[in-house]
């Protein structure tokens, strides 16, 4: 997720949020790269879900992506799970 494509994440989430979906679980197992632009859209989507009493839940975060979530302490604001199943069980 870089400056050229990160917005697609919010575009994909928006119809669900507009329909009143409370929780969105994102499997990031295959995500190999994220920049601050990508983090920006995670924060934006997370805020919108929070406003409706829901959460953005992340799972399978690894490699540089995991490191960037840790160093920016976004691990403290998004529930993080090892697997989709674990995320589903937590909702």
């Amino acid at each position: 997720m870089d400056a050229t494509n990160s917005q697609e994440f919010e575009v994909a989430c928006t119809p669900w949020i507009d329909q009143g979906v409370k929780h969105i679980i994102v499997d990031l197992t295959a995500l190999e790269y994220v920049s601050s632009m990508g983090l920006r859209y995670f924060v934006n989507v997370g805020k919108r879900l929070n406003d409706g009493g829901g959460t953005l839940r992340l799972c399978g975060v690894n490699g540089i992506v995991k490191q960037l979530f840790q160093i920016t302490r976004l691990t403290n604001v998004f529930p993080m799970h090892d697997t989709v199943e674990a995320a589903l069980a937590s909702v």
Binding site: Y33, N50, I64, T72, V77
Partner: protein, 142 residues
């Protein structure tokens, strides 16, 4: 010293990234660490494309690198836009709850985390950001 000059626009990020990938390979940085060079470039490049030049003006971005020794890259990213020192930005407050967090503001923070040293100077109408990236500093930061 190798140089690349591109237009300050989104489409130039890809050739700029390829250019510094070749730099990372020339410096012998292990592949997992090359992602951090991509990241530093993207953060600085995006700031230039968004803020340096007035809308509609096709300014340029010059990128230079050298490899003083294996495992070390010295890079300069320069533009002729308005004065902008990214190092003057305030550090983000990372302890805020999600609702209180600003949506952006993490880019230069990340650049500072992964560069061994970084400095800015205004030079005859150019913004010049020079930084060093080394295998040692990346490994200690990661």
């Amino acid at each position: 010293m190798r140089e690349l000059s591109v237009t300050a626009e989104w489409n130039s990020l890809e050739p700029a990234t390829q250019f510094l990938r070749s730099a990372a390979v020339a410096a012998g940085l292990p592949e997992p660490l090359q992602n951090y060079v991509d990241l530093i470039l993207e953060e600085l490049f995006v700031n230039i494309t968004r803020y340096a030049y007035p809308d509609g003006q096709a300014g340029k971005v010059d990128i230079q690198y050298s490899v003083p020794r294996p495992g070390l890259l010295e890079i300069e990213i320069a533009d002729q836009g308005k004065y902008y020192n990214p190092l003057e930005l305030e550090s983000p407050n990372l302890d805020l709850a999600l609702d209180d967090r600003p949506v952006g503001g993490l880019g230069i923070f990340l650049v500072k985390q992964y560069t061994e040293s970084i400095d800015y100077r205004r030079d005859d109408g150019w913004n010049r950001v020079n930084f060093r990236v080394s295998a040692e500093s990346l490994l200690s930061a990661t």
